[in-house]
């Protein structure tokens, strides 16, 4: 992840930018509202107010970083409307920044003094943001002042244009809303006469996202859609292209053709290729490919992968990987649907009281057996508890693989019993297997066990006890531990607490901030490598809606993490939504509101969310966790 440091901007010492005669930020509203052409930066709409040259250059630089999808409407600067633009923020000098941060504890004072400044100066906006985030306490009242002068122009302008703009899809990649579910359907198989080959190939080509894994020797290993036969010609082309660049000692990492982005990651003897017609950045796609590679390692371990190819470079890896294809596919599908966990490289936890979590931790520790390495309680992909040895931490990427296996792929759950699974956690140790005991808690009401309506608990609702050991013979030991642990939890009411927390689901934004304009948010706690978010329901329940939401987040995330930018606050308005990102050394907040949301309300809600998270921090996140 290219998480650019939040320190002072590169050009901070440039005397010219130190106190730039920035135009009132409200004027920048006009820039994108006319930018319905989202074609390219060259076609940027005219009514840009005059800006200092240096800023202009910066602006161009920032924009071109994100134009890696020529032809696609991803150019943020040209599309976004009310950006507290890169330029506005990347221009405070280093001395000021550090002083401000030092004064963090005296927030009120600092903020008060800033309020006297004319906040029409973009640089101050950036500073204020950083003060607020480093300060221990949020003060909502101030936000109004920070963004205050935008308010007047904001709503009116956007409303005026929004009626005309709504006819355009948010992102070209997402425009065929109803079609998206077909993304996950099989392409079908070529029958024996090959009569339907064209149809199958057309289905294949219609997919907006492809993942291909091939060996360096050019053997297809896995493809998300279709089979080896169908795609063999494409594999050949890809291999030729990759090896051409390899020969010239300049490995190809990505390229774009039309609206399609190709990203290649080479790991040892494997090439992993992502082909996407959706709104995703190179970095994001690379992360996804790396996760797929981790999944392969998790199945095979690194030494055995290396060994296989060192004996025979033309090894067909399909056979050793047999049976794990579904894991790759569910992983790929969760990326395609949009995975906040992957985007943020963080984990989500189940929100319960600190004392309740403590009670479960203690129960886990009390029932711990000697062969236990990690003990986890997981509710539908959300971590409830974790106990671990002092020396070892858990890698979020590893947990993501485990959660994918346990909750997304049906294999473990459909087994109907307890599972004993050899698994390599590459983040922990890529050279060997650990053994994982998995058992699902039965959370159905005990009152009517005869009620055999097969109320299949959804992924979100299933709760698993995961006990990991390095000893492959320790199944019965861990089974005993599980029984004791569950019995204790029944006794001390922990099961009930988990059950209620799961049933409650994620809070909606209006639960947190009554009457807020926000429809959804993601909050990542950087220190804890964990995130929390609001409920997808009701607005983002469908797969395609959720995909649009994730595209918006991808977009925000890419722009705020673009190399060489030091953005702290990023506000972006399109015809169907306005979105807002706020990054500090402590957290990353991404939120989405309706297109007409005014910026003041947005900022106010955002800081209320921050305040809420701060209050609930020990419930939302596992801080420290239990060690033994």
């Amino acid at each position: 992840m290219v998480s650019t440091a939040d320190g002072p901007a590169q050009d901070a010492n440039n005397p010219e930018t130190e106190n730039p005669p920035t135009p009132p930020p409200s004027s920048s509203l006009r820039q994108p509202s006319t930018s319905s052409d989202r074609e390219s930066e060259e076609e940027r709409p005219p009514p840009l107010p005059p800006r200092p040259n240096t800023l202009r250059l910066l602006d161009e630089g920032g924009a071109s970083l994100r134009t890696s999808r020529p032809g696609a409407p991803t150019n943020l600067q040209s599309r976004a409307t009310t950006a507290v633009s890169l330029t506005d923020i990347g221009c405070h000098d280093a001395g000021k920044e550090s002083r401000v941060v030092r004064e963090g504890s005296e927030t009120l004072k600092a903020q008060a003094s800033l309020n006297h400044l004319t906040s029409s100066r973009g640089s101050e906006t950036g500073d204020t943001a950083s003060i607020r985030s480093s300060g221990p306490q949020g003060d909502i009242g101030d936000v109004e002042n920070v963004f205050g002068d935008f308010v007047a122009t904001d709503t009116g302008l956007i409303r005026k244009h929004s009626t005309g703009l709504l006819q355009f899809p948010e992102f070209q990649a997402d425009d065929v809303e109803d079609d998206f579910t077909s993304e996950f359907e099989p392409v079908g198989e070529v029958d024996e006469e090959g009569g339907n080959e064209e149809q199958v190939l057309a289905n294949w080509k219609a997919k907006r996202k492809h993942y291909l894994i091939l060996s360096a020797a050019g053997k297809p290993i896995w493809t998300r859609h279709g089979d080896g036969g169908l795609i063999s010609t494409y594999i050949g082309v890809i291999q030729t292209i990759i090896s051409f660049y390899e020969d010239s000692k300049d490995p190809l990492s990505s390229f774009t053709a039309g609206d399609t982005k190709f990203v290649i990651v080479t790991k040892g003897p494997l090439h992993l290729v992502a082909i996407s017609r959706m709104l995703e950045s190179d970095t994001q796609l690379k992360l996804q490919l790396e996760a797929l590679y981790m999944q392969i390692l998790s199945t095979l371990t690194l030494p055995s992968l290396t060994h296989l190819f060192s004996i025979r470079p033309s090894t067909d890896l399909k056979r050793p990987l047999q049976g794990s294809e579904t894991l790759l596919s569910t992983l790929a599908d969760s990326f395609t649907k949009g995975s906040p966990s992957t985007l943020l490289s963080a984990l989500e936890c189940l929100k319960i009281r600190k004392s309740h979590r403590q009670a479960i931790n203690n129960t886990l520790l009390k029932t711990k057996v000697s062969s236990l390495l990690y003990g986890l309680v997981v509710a539908g992909g959300r971590l409830v508890n974790v106990v671990r040895p002092k020396k070892h931490s858990l890698h979020p990427g590893d947990l993501q693989l485990l959660f994918n296996m346990i909750f997304e792929a049906e294999a473990v759950k459909a087994g109907g019993g307890e599972s004993w699974i050899p698994v390599c956690l590459p983040g922990f140790n890529s050279s060997g297997y650990l053994y994982m005991y998995v058992s699902f808690l039965d959370l159905r009401d005990d009152a009517n066990p005869a009620n055999d309506t097969k109320t299949t608990t959804t992924k979100e609702e299933s709760v698993a006890i995961v006990l990991i050991s390095a000893n492959k013979e320790s199944f019965f030991e861990l089974q005993g531990m599980r029984d004791a642990f569950v019995e204790q939890m029944e006794k001390n009411g922990s099961i009930k607490i988990i059950k209620e927390a799961v049933a409650k689901g994620r809070p909606s934004t209006t639960d947190i901030v009554p009457g807020t304009v926000l429809h959804h948010f993601l909050y990542k706690s950087r220190a804890n490598v964990q995130f929390t978010m609001s409920s997808y329901d009701p607005e983002f329940s469908t797969v395609s809606r959720r995909r649009r939401l994730m595209s918006t987040y991808n977009n925000l995330h890419a722009s705020i993490h673009a190399r060489h930018t030091h953005v702290k606050v990023h506000h972006c308005v399109s015809q169907s939504s306005s979105s807002f990102a706020w990054v500090t050394p402590m957290f990353e907040l991404y939120c989405v509101a309706g297109a007409n949301a005014n910026r003041n309300a947005l900022a106010q809600s955002a800081s209320k969310i921050i305040e809420w998270v701060r209050q609930e921090e020990e419930r939302l996140f596992i801080i420290g966790g239990a060690v033994f």
Binding site: E189, E192, G323, T326, A409, A411, V412, A414, G416, E418
Partner: protein, 262 residues
């Protein structure tokens, strides 16, 4: 998991460790799920590692608690198999009646079990997916058919095989392994033999009942099962269970009347 011991306290209860082995996608997990939950899932995803399940089986004189290891059929898990069959008193070696290569693989497993597993292990050879053959019609009605969608999308191993095999046969009979061939082999090796359909439930309970009956009384002691502790690792000695093995090649000859109360 299974219900607690309360109902059959009168009868002596004992545990039997049972392991399922066989090529990938022959329907091992489906057999177990039919036996344990009386459930069937079309296009079930392959098992990862192994699953451990329990189910009770009530015989006239005693209650047997099966502790079942349902192993993954993929080759990369093969090296873990000894861990599961080492102390097992019974093994179910499964093949797919529509796939000859799976019988070959089953024979390998039988040989390995005879060589390495506890002496006296009761082995049942089971040909699954009988519903894909013509014999399926006769078997219909015997079980509780779940909602069945024959024309489900060709996604997943089982369905893939169906579509691949079907063109070869005119009358919809996808059978590739004759009953006679498999039963002759089973008789030769002293195995129990059944043809089943996890999908319709045909013969599934019968397999487990027959195994329960075939386990010699002597090896049923503690609740944890005779093989639970150490011991039984000696590879010498004959097969005490030999004479208690029954050839049940003929369909319907199974001891169905003693069926499990589960």
């Amino acid at each position: 998991m299974s219900e607690s011991t309360s109902a059959n306290t009168a009868k002596p209860s004992s545990s039997v460790k049972l392991v399922l082995l066989g090529e990938a996608a022959v329907g091992k997990s489906s057999l177990v799920l039919r036996f344990v939950n009386n459930d069937f899932q079309e296009n079930k995803e392959p098992t990862i590692g192994a699953a451990f399940l329990t189910q009770k089986c009530s015989l006239p004189t005693r209650t047997i608690k099966f502790e079942i290891w349902d192993t993954a059929g993929q080759e990369r898990f093969a090296s873990l198999a000894p861990m599961y069959y080492r102390n097992a008193q019974a093994a179910l070696v499964v093949y797919d009646v529509t796939k000859p290569s799976s019988l070959t693989k089953a024979k390998h497993w039988v040989a390995e079990l005879q060589r390495q597993a506890s002496p006296g292990i009761v082995i049942a050879l089971v040909g699954n997916k009988l519903d894909l053959t013509n014999d399926a019609n006769e078997a219909a009605g015997e079980a509780q058919p779940e909602a069945e969608h024959e024309s489900s999308p060709a996604d997943g191993d089982e369905a893939t095989e169906e579509t691949q095999e079907e063109p070869d046969v005119s009358n919809g009979d996808a059978r590739k392994v004759p009953t006679r061939e498999a039963s002759a082999y089973a008789e030769e090796e002293g195995l129990l033999f059944f043809e089943t359909s996890a999908k319709t439930g045909h013969n599934v309970v019968d397999v487990f009942t027959a195994i329960a009956n075939a386990i010699p009384e002597s090896s049923l002691k503690s609740g944890r099962g005779a093989g639970a502790g150490t011991g039984q690792t000696s590879l010498s000695g004959g097969r005490p269970a030999e004479d208690s093995r029954v050839n049940l090649g003929e369909r319907g000859a199974a001891t169905a009347k003693e069926g499990c109360a589960c």
